[in-house]
Symmetry: C2
DNA sequence: CGGTATCTTGTAAACGTTTTCAAAACAACA
DNA sequence: TGTTGTTTTGAAAACGTTTACAAGATACCG
């Protein structure tokens, strides 16, 4: 490998000068600069990033800790973060913990060892622990931003959608369409409503809307389950719900993938959508636009979340913003074909 | 930050000894080892990865260069690669070029600067250039493996599916079901059939099967288009194809997302699936199992591809395998509800 | 107990940069 | 030409590890 020394020798200058040229410093005579650049080109010199990172203790690496990687939501989020970071000169180390706390631990360790400048975390359920860990990171000088989760105490920056009002507006949509008995498919934690996770907020919004918007609204929850977002769960819950609750005219699933599962359940039971039952999703992932019928959904601005999380983290890393900041974005109802006005 | 020096002082040993303990070397007295570990724990010492990477010139970083990141295929692939690498002690830098050659260039530069040990590339269309670049990388000591693309000359390792036979078997499926006039939705490059890309191989297989398997098979191609995999393109092509070719009974799309687009076109034109037209996809992404009706498809073992690409690269990096290796995996037909026997 | 082999430890030199400091070169001015 | 101020350059010291080498300690053997 050709080093800065080789370049210095070839250009007849000191390594300090080469360094100055490489890093675009002022105070280098044009002639010298040119000679150095020529030597660099001729020798095919590439600065050793390992060395300069080491010297400056700046890795330019940020970690992104996701709980999954295969879901549409995560993909979109990761993509937005990654491109934003790249354009700002940071490189991202993408890690999917798959919900395994040991893996999360291991990844955080690695990031510390690599002296990552900042970390974006989409926390999994184990919030207390994650927050503790995140605070420890912050104290040792690593910038931290949460995405898609708002911690109760605002010591850490976070970017999140207003899931409460999303749930609320989803219900408003269904109620305005004339639905009065509405099934809700949501995770177990969410149903209890105590958590700080996004699902709980959605359910709270749903409950409140049912109280506020009409006197005769009845909501029924599908039996609790633990995993909170998969197609299979939606299928299962949809099936039992549809067979049990005869006069239910609409189902609100707190996730698009859940909703798609519910749609399949409905199809499987011979129902015609949306005539026999309206279905409303939540997230606005790509997949929701390619179902049949296309899925009405409360869309989150996923890419915007990613971008804002990235820029927030960057500001923390650069020190331009020191106080934690919590950004709450609005969701938007997308009316498509899976929900219809009751006759 | 607490360094190895601090630990050495606290444990009353030399930094060399600490280093030996940290790196699990033999020849350290148990008592000493213990004392050092105690000091490490007390001080909260974390080895400076930047420093050791620099010293050893081993970054433990591998780059993964994808052209997109938001597609189900890419996500699954990235996930498989990432977990495999992590378990082997490597960290992955995930990069999506979005088809932009400048971005690809920039990423490769970064990887060189970070002294990545190896790179997995899912090449985009610009193959000649990518191969040249890949060879240059190899010569400067970086391990390179292609995934989902097999270069003509076997100087670079690659993991790919047998797209030719996949196309062939897809056609066999449709022909066995009694279909004789079959529409094919594929990219422009693929249709010309000259490229080394996966699409071309699929089309070649399709063509050959049409010749081999029955005398009266007719295939019609949808008008050529450039982007090769999106839902919108499938929608567009499906629409024109269905309205133009009246006696066509099946459509083979060379991508699941294309197929899903075609399904929507069919639904939009009031067709009943699979009664009025059978639809066959290719890839076997998650989405194909949640369409309505569920999509029959030629499934690629995407995760296996990722895993094998990762292990291949690891073997190259470790030097256990030096000669390039090209692995070809088989696809498998998944029969679902979107294809049916002609009456 | 001396000699030898083995185990354990420390010293110090790298690794390729960046950066401080001071010296050298140059320009401006009297 | 000498003085002063500015620009340009180089020497050398870091940064925190790993590791070659040598030396000190210990064990073993006759």
């Amino acid at each position: 490998m050709v080093t800065i020394k080789d370049v210095a020798k070839a250009a007849n200058v000191s390594i300090a000068t080469v360094s100055r040229v490489v890093n675009d410093y002022a105070h280098v005579r044009p002639a010298v600069r040119e000679a150095v650049n020529k030597a660099i080109a001729e020798l095919g010199y590439r600065p050793n990033g390992l060395a300069s990172s080491f010297r400056t203790q700046q890795s330019n690496i940020v970690g992104v800790l996701l709980r999954q990687q295969r879901t549409p939501f995560s993909s979109a989020l990761a993509y937005a973060i990654e491109t934003t970071m790249f354009d700002e000169g940071y490189r991202v180390l993408l890690c999917s913990t798959n919900g395994d706390p040991d893996r999360e631990e291991a990844y955080l360790d690695t990031m510390m060892e690599m002296r990552a400048q900042g970390i974006i975390i989409r926390p999994s359920g184990a919030t207390a622990r994650t927050i503790r860990r995140a605070n420890a990171l912050r104290e040792s000088g690593v910038a931290v931003t949460f995405v898609d989760m708002k911690p109760r105490l605002a010591s850490i920056s976070a970017v999140v959608c207003d899931n409460y009002s999303g749930g609320y507006e989803g219900m408003r949509h269904l109620i305005e369409l004339g639905h009065r008995k509405i099934g809700v498919v949501a995770g177990a934690v969410a149903q209890r409503g105590g958590g700080t996770d996004v699902g709980s907020d959605r359910v709270r919004g749903i409950r409140q809307a049912a109280q506020d918007l009409a006197t005769d609204v009845e909501i029924v929850f599908s039996p609790a389950f633990t995993e909170t977002s998969s197609f299979e769960v939606g299928l299962e819950c949809g099936r039992t719900m549809i067979t049990t609750e005869k006069d239910m005219t609409a189902i609100f699933a707190t996730t698009d993938m859940l909703a798609i599962g519910v749609m399949h359940a409905a199809h499987g039971l011979g129902l015609d959508l949306p005539r026999d039952v309206s279905i409303l999703g939540y997230d606005g992932v790509l997949e929701s636009s390619v179902t049949f019928p296309t899925l009405s959904t409360i869309a989150q601005p996923i890419e915007e979340m990613g971008r804002i999380a990235a820029t927030t983290l960057i500001e923390h890393m650069r020190g331009t913003v020191r106080t934690p900041r919590q950004v709450v974005l609005e969701n938007a109802l997308i009316r498509r074909d899976s929900t219809r006005m009751l006759p």
